[in-house]
């Protein structure tokens, strides 16, 4: 018996083989879970799947790893049937009720075939099978790789969350102590100063609770005025008077002269007040930063009704260092609420604003400017973050959302290095959308979120 035809197309070759070897052979029926071949055991049959599907698995460290799967019109047992060892390298299990036709080595002998010719004829089929398995392996690899990457991102976030929570706790303790000491210092000073007279206490109280002081320039003008008006006053004295006295008092010559008599003691009281004031400002600033960082890294992100405006304001506090050198324009509508994790939203804005600022700094953009707008449109919350930086080239506009995309080349940046991929993930989490439009000189990120009416 010979095999008809020499070179043929894959389909016709397959059909010919199917007809010639598998049309009148025995048929095997398997139930779901039945094992067709055992890993390491010999096999002398070549199977053709007529119906159903099977998978080939190997055991590795007590774990089953799927290597390939076979469907209708595919061959099983290719390796063991054609290889020298004759052993199956996987365990093949039916995944559903499956029907197979097979031919055994014994049957092949009975057919009195030229084996070389037979093997040659099967070669394209074998190669095809191998290629198919290779593709499977590639696919499994990619899935695994993706899962690993996701895990790394999650671990990074979790680590950051824990680290910031711990840090925030420690810093809060320190700030709390400072706050308490400032208060107690303040009241003790008042007691001490009481003996000196009401003027001192008033000065201390006024300075320590003052909201704003004269600017350095205004003060310089006052000093200049005093030196001009009072020839006898020295420069250090004028400086002290400018601190102690109000704008009106400085113009009153009698008050100025009267103050001169006890200028050093009064200035001392003023300095105490100013120092207490500055310390309060510094601790307030520290607590504010700590609370923002805590929100950002909060490990349990419960959904709640959040006013978008406040999340944007928090984000702006967090990035204030990065945006110090640029123009910030905001137009934020109050009262737009959505159901989300507050920290998540803060993180979205932080990432967008930081990215814009960094892109402009790196490109050396002239008159850098960031606009943040919050408004509503068609029952949706619309936030746009716009910058006048170099823009994102068309071909890169898709890839910037990938987790490892970055334009940053070292330097000092506080960040997760995940930027826009996080933005996209978080916004999608709350059924929102991220849109990007960018040309040199204007880049717009538009975030849309559903409005929730509480």
């Amino acid at each position: 018996m010979t095999i008809n035809g020499t070179y043929q197309s894959k389909e016709s070759l397959f059909n010919r083989i199917k007809e010639q070897f598998f049309s009148n052979t025995e048929v095997l029926n398997l139930k779901k879970g039945d094992v067709l071949l055992h890993e390491g055991k010999s096999n002398d049959r070549l199977f053709l799947v007529l119906q159903g599907s099977l998978k080939g698995v190997i055991k590795h460290n007590d774990e089953s790893i799927e290597l390939f799967h076979c469907e209708k019109d595919m061959f099983v047992g290719v390796y063991s049937f054609f290889s020298d060892s004759g052993n199956s390298y996987t365990t093949v299990i039916a995944q559903e009720p499956t029907k197979l036709a097979f031919i055994s080595k014994g049957q092949l002998k009975e057919l009195d075939l030229d084996l070389v010719e037979f093997h040659e004829c099967f070669l394209p089929i074998i190669v095809n099978e191998l290629h198919h398995r290779q593709q499977d392996a590639q696919r499994y690899y990619e899935i695994k790789e993706g899962a690993l990457k996701k895990l790394v991102v999650q671990e990074k976030l979790a680590a950051l969350g824990q680290l910031s929570a711990g840090l925030a706790h420690e810093l809060n303790n320190a700030v709390a102590v400072l706050n308490q000491k400032i208060e107690s210092f303040n009241s003790r000073l008042e007691v001490t100063l009481k003996s000196k007279g009401d003027q001192y206490i008033e000065l201390l109280q006024k300075t320590s609770t003052q909201h704003s002081f004269e600017s350095s320039k205004e003060k310089r003008q006052q000093v200049g005025y005093l030196l001009k008006q009072h020839k006898s006053i020295t420069r250090p004295q004028a400086k002290k008077l400018a601190c102690i006295l109000s704008d009106e008092q400085i113009k009153d010559k009698t008050i100025v002269q009267n103050t001169l008599g006890q200028i050093d003691a009064l200035f001392e009281a003023w300095s105490f007040g100013r120092d207490l004031h500055d310390m309060k400002v510094a601790t307030d600033h520290a607590s504010h930063i700590i609370s923002s960082v805590k929100t950002l890294a909060a490990p349990n992100r419960d959904k709640e009704m959040v006013d978008i405006k406040f999340t944007i304001l928090k984000a702006l506090t967090l990035v204030q260092h990065q945006i110090k050198n640029l123009d910030l324009v905001t137009s934020l509508e109050l009262g737009l609420e959505t159901l989300a994790g507050e920290g998540d939203l803060v993180q979205v804005w932080v990432n967008l604003i930081k990215n814009a600022a960094e892109a402009m700094t790196n490109a050396g953009t002239k008159d850098p400017r960031i606009e943040v707008n919050l408004t509503s449109e068609n029952n949706q919350i619309v936030v746009t973050v716009r910058d006048n930086g170099p823009g994102i080239p068309q071909e890169k506009q898709k890839s910037i959302f990938a987790p490892d995309y970055t334009t940053k080349k070292g330097g000092l940046t506080f960040g997760l290095g995940l930027g826009l991929s996080i933005v996209e993930n978080l916004v999608h989490k709350y059924d929102g959308t991220v849109d990007l439009s960018s040309v040199p000189g204007q880049t717009n990120f538009t975030i849309k979120l559903p409005i929730n009416h509480g």
Binding site: F213, S216, K217, R235, V281, L412
Partner: protein, 160 residues
Amino acid sequence: MDKIYIICVDDQPEVLNSVLEDIGSLEEKFFIEGCESAEEAEELMQEIDAKGNLVGLVISDHVMPNKNGVEFLTDVKESDMYPNLKKILLTGLATHEDTIRAINKAEIDYYFAKPWEKHDLLLKVKHLMTAFILDTGLDYQDYMIYMDQQLLYRRLKERV
């Protein structure tokens, strides 16, 4: 006696106050001024210069709105108006590149990281003011109490 100014620049009033207070003891001999922006400092320095007085030292923060510290100090350096001027960069946040620029382009004399130690700052300021006075050829005896004695001794020995 010439009027010599020390200019401190920081946009945060509380920080500016702290710097001014730390070097306040030098006020008897030097004119110490605080400015809240680079622009304000530039204006003031021009006024001082116009009146024929001297600016001996600038202590500047880096991260400030509009013009940052390194840009400010670079402009001051490149203006050639203040040939012997000493410059200190006092900052809590400067990138690697900013720092390189500060040294190479602004030619700063010293870099202080926030938070600083009062003692160190005062010593450095005295040291740089001594250098300024000697470089400019002023009569150092007027300022004797605030001089860095070691530097003075070394420089005088070189002269002989």
